[in-house]
Every structure is written in C-alpha cells, then in structure tokens.
C-alpha cells in the first residue's frame, strides 16, 4: 500500500524543551490513522511539522514524496486541517467563510460556488448559510470548520481533537461525519486525539505518544497482541460458584476475576477455552454464556502511559 506520510527520526525542539523526539512512522494512503496521547504529547506539533508550519530540529518528513520544509505550500494545497479550536471567522457568514478559503486555495469561481453549496448541504448548514457564524452553536461551528477542511477535497484530512469541546450529541454527529467522509472520499484521515473511545471507534491504526516519544504503533489487534499478553474470556454463570480451585492451576490460565455471576479469565490462547469451560462444568458451574472479550485500547493506553512514567522515574 502506498504511503501518504513518511516520518523518519523526527525531533522538534522549542526554546527550552523537546516537543518531539526521534519519531518514526508511516501513514498509509486511505487509512484513518490516530495519533493518541495526553495534552502536550506533541500531536499538534506533528501536524504543524507535516504541513510545513515549523521546520524540524532533526529528522525527515515526506508527504506524497514532498518535503514540507521546502514545498510546504504545495503540500498544504493537498491537505485540509481541522484545527483544535474551530477557528472560523465569526463575523462572516458560513458561506463567506467557505468562499474566502476556496479563493485562497485558488478554486475557480464557478466550481467554488457549486462546491460551497454542496458541502453546506452535506453538513446540514445550508439553511443558515447566510447568517453570521457568531450566532451558531459550538457543534455548528465545528461542522463548518470540518466543511472548510474538506472544501478542497484534500488527499489528507488532519483532525486535531475534533470533538474535544463538543457535547456528546455533537461529538457523535462529528464521528458519524468523519466515518462517512472516509468511506465516501477514500482519503487519508490523520486524527489527533486524547479520547480513547474516539481513536478506538474511528481508526484503522493507532500511534501512542507521550512526551513527544512514540510508545506504540499498530492496529488495535496488533497492539493487543503486543502489550496485552493473552486473551480475556467473559463467562456468565447462572448462579455464583462455591469454589473453582482447579481452574486456578490449569495450564494456560493466566488470571481470574470473579464478581458474583460474572467471571473473567485471561488465557494464553484460544485453544485453552474448551478445556476451561469443561473444567468449570465438571466443578458444577452452570454456564449460560461465554464470550471472547475485545482488547480494549484503554487497557493498552494506560499500561503504556504507566510504563512510560515508570521508565521516566
């Protein structure tokens, strides 16, 4: 698969501190790639470096084979960025906002008018397109900012904390829009977020950052295998068990948690599950359900952040 962005040994220093240290990863064409990390981890700095707003202290970046330091303007012609604050002109109308950005990008006037209507329609803003943005709700402003980022049909869409200031309903709306955009336009989405559920829901691959350093990279499945050894099985019981001493000593069973009629068991591999179930039945357990539990990004994330803190300490 072709890469949209290639980052190699990237470091960036502000006056007194490193915002990024020796960062390397590739973003594939057409995927939703999430950069996950707490505030100050270096996510926004990465977007700015990739778009040529900063010059890196060390390392190399390539966007469609171009170098942002010398070809920033050409790169920005093909990218769209939703900044952390919606940053729309509140004294102008939604239509004026979009027309202004379209003209700055050099879209011909006739196609710009058509595209503006089309995108206002898509984001359900057409009915209030000629009202000043100052009168809009936060959710509407965020939709307008997203519309602006997509106006030029960018090959890479950067989303910097797209739902951080939104209420759950508006955040849900934005999530649905992002999903439908990535399905329709087949463009690369580079998502920066500190919201685990957002990254888990939307992304194909995740890179976890802390203090400007890459802690992990991969799909959720890959990260699960890498950092959360074993598989969690959730077992529903009809009634609480009196004792299950033997499962504790079973080969392949790593951990066990029982709360009333719920049992969570961590096993080394899937092959252990039939033996585990049969052992429990032998001990008189009345099993009414067995489920494989999905690996949670939250587990991986907090484990990595804790490891990073320990490492730093």
């Amino acid at each position: 698969m072709e890469n949209s962005i290639v980052i190699e040994n990237l470091s960036h220093r502000f006056d007194d501190r490193y915002a990024l240290r020796d960062l390397s990863f590739k973003v594939r064409q057409g995927e939703i790639f999430a950069l996950l990390g707490p505030n100050g981890a270096g996510k926004t700095t990465t977007i700015r470096l990739v778009n040529g707003l900063y010059t890196p202290t060390a390392g190399k970046i390539s966007v469609f084979g171009r170098d942002p330091v010398h070809q920033g303007s050409q790169i920005r012609q093909e990218t769209g960025v939703l900044t952390e604050t919606s940053a729309v002109y509140e004294r102008l109308t939604a239509r004026e906002n979009l027309l202004f950005f379209g003209r700055v990008y050099g879209i011909p006037e006739s196609s710009l008018l058509k595209r503006t209507d089309e995108i206002l329609e898509f984001f359900a803003l057409i009915n209030r397109a000629d009202e000043r943005v100052a009168t809009y709700s936060k959710g509407m402003k965020q939709r307008l900012a997203l519309a602006r980022a997509l106006l030029t049909r960018p090959r890479i869409l950067f989303l910097d904390e797209p739902t951080s200031s939104l209420d759950p309903e508006s955040a849900q709306q934005v999530h649905e829009l992002i999903e439908s955009i990535s399905r329709q336009e087949e463009n690369t989405v580079f998502l920066c977020t500190h919201r685990l559920e957002e990254a888990e829901r939307l992304s194909d691959r995740v890179a976890i950052l802390n203090n400007g350093q890459l802690l992990a990279l991969g799909s959720l499945e890959e990260l699960g295998q890498q950092f959360n050894h074993g598989i969690w099985v959730e077992i529903d019981l009809f009634a609480p068990m009196e004792s299950d001493l033997s499962t504790r000593e079973m080969r392949g069973v790593l951990k066990r948690e029982i709360i009333g009629t719920k049992m969570r068991v961590q096993v080394q591999e899937e092959a252990v599950i039939p033996a585990l179930v049969s052992e429990l039945v032998m001990q008189g357990a009345q099993i009414i359900g067995v489920r494989l539990q999905n690996v949670s990004l939250e587990d991986i994330y907090f484990k990595l952040q804790a490891d990073a803190r320990e490492g730093a300490g």
Partner: protein, 276 residues
C-alpha cells in the same frame, strides 16, 4: 506572489474590520470632526467676530507668529483682511498636520484588527494551513490597512476642500483651498504615515495578545503628528511643499527599515508561538 490571493486576504480582513464597532466608529466620527465640525465652527466663529478683541489676528501669540513667518506664508495672506487671513492661516495652513491623524488612525486600527485581532481570535491558524506564502499573507494584511487609510484620507481631503470653500465663500469671495503645501501632505506624507502606522502595529502585534492592546500602543504614534503640529505652531518647522516632500521621504525611509523588521516577525512559526 499571487496577487489574487493577496487581494482576497485584504478584502476578507476589511470585511471583518467593518463588522467591528471599535474599528468603524472612529472611521466615521474622526473625519466628521476634522472635515465638517471643526472647520465649520471656526469659520462661523471668525465670520461672526465683530470687534478687534474677538479677531484671532489680535491674539499676541498669533501676531508674533505672523511677524516671524517666512515669505511664502506672508504671500498667502497679502492683501487679505484680518478675518480672511485668520481663516487661511489657521484652517489652510496650521490645521494641515491634524489631517495626518486620519491616515495614521485608520491604518493602525485596521492593522491591529488584521494582525493582532486575528491572532486573538485564533483564526490565524486556519489561515496558516492554506497554501499562501508568508509574503502573500503579510502583503494582503498590509494592504488591508493601507488602501482604506489612503482612500479615506483622500475622500476626507476632498470633503474638507468642499466644506472650506463653501463655508468660507461669503468671507473669501473665491475658491482659495487647497493651498499648494497640502498636495505633498495628502499625496506623499499621508501614504508614508499610513505605512508607518501599519509597520509599528505589526511589530507591536507580534507581542500584543489582543486587538485593543495593539491598537492602544500603536496609538502613541499620534505623538509624531503632534510634534509636527507643535513644531509648526512654534515656528520651528514651516510646512512648505519642499518641507512636506522631505518629511514624507524621511518617513518612507523609516517605513522601509521598520517593514524589514516587521517581515521578520511575520512567519508561521513565530505567529503560532502564542497558540502553542
């Protein structure tokens, strides 16, 4: 440099500035005071002055000023009576530097809105992610302050000419304004001082966090105009055509130096420093 982009940015900044009361209120009120209220009030005052005591020419300081003034000014009032001389010297000559407040004020208020205001509202970041170059952004924003400042000054000058000639016609009996020294002032010094206002505001905007902060600090530039006014009133400077051209030249040189520094403060990394 893509001039279409530059003018798009300038037009957007002006559209935004028009929506800000703190920008357009002074743009309406100050010319109204300088162009209509002050000259009309003075002409009416001079025309209705009946006794010697009420005539400006009888003021001892003013008499001293007349006594010391150079030949080109004496020529202006030769053959005129006391009221006519008062109108020509005060509204036609001494008042001239006041007029420079207009381009200075318009350029600083719009530049403060365009540079510091956009940073204050954090809209600058979205603009920095567009394909525009730093030079195009800078030029667009400078033009947003420069073009209206020069145009409003020109329109105000035309308005002042009409008001002065019309209101003073019963006293003067002829079209007497503008005097020659006003041409370099309006066409040469005024653009120079507009650029000065913008350059200083851009430099201040690099530090100031708000539109008001930048506007108020750059407002101290009015001291340059007041110095000119005081110099003229005390007889240190006489604003002839040549002196006007020279003052304009000096300000343009200062503009050039300040603009070089202003351009250096205007790059993407520095503009983002405050939003990091």
């Amino acid at each position: 440099m893509n001039w279409k982009t530059i003018f798009t940015i300038a037009k957007k900044d002006l559209k935004e500035a028009r929506q800000n009361k703190a920008v357009w209120l002074p743009v309406l009120i100050v010319p109204a005071i300088f162009v209509v209220i002050l000259p009309l009030g003075m002409i009416l005052g001079f025309s209705s002055a009946t006794g010697i005591a009420q005539n400006p020419m009888s003021d001892p300081d003013f008499a001293l000023f007349i006594e010391r003034m150079p030949a080109f000014l004496t020529d202006l009032i030769s053959g005129l009576d006391a009221t006519q001389s008062g109108i020509v010297l005060i509204l036609g000559y001494l008042f001239a530097p006041f007029f420079l407040i207009l381009p200075l004020m318009f350029s600083t208020v719009i530049a403060a809105e365009s540079f510091a205001g956009e940073r204050e509202r954090k809209t600058i970041e979205a603009l920095l992610y567009t394909p525009t170059t730093d030079a195009e952004l800078f030029t667009g924003k400078v033009l947003a302050g420069f073009i209206p400042a020069v145009l409003i000054t020109l329109v105000s000058f035309i308005g002042y000419t009409i008001v002065l000639n019309a209101a003073a016609y019963p006293v003067m009996g002829r079209i007497w304004f503008p005097l020659p020294s006003w041409y370099p002032l309006v066409l040469w010094v005024s653009p120079a001082i507009s650029l000065l206002g913008i350059a200083v505001t851009v430099l201040i905007s690099a530090k100031a966090q708000t539109f008001m902060g930048a506007y108020q600090t750059s407002g101290s530039l009015v001291l340059v105009v007041l110095a000119l006014l005081a110099g003229q009133a005390t007889g240190v400077i006489y604003l002839s055509v040549v002196v006007g051209l020279l003052i304009g030249l000096v300000i343009f040189v200062v503009d050039a130096v300040l603009m070089v520094y202003a351009v250096r403060t205007f790059n993407r990394a520095k503009l983002l420093a405050s939003t990091r």
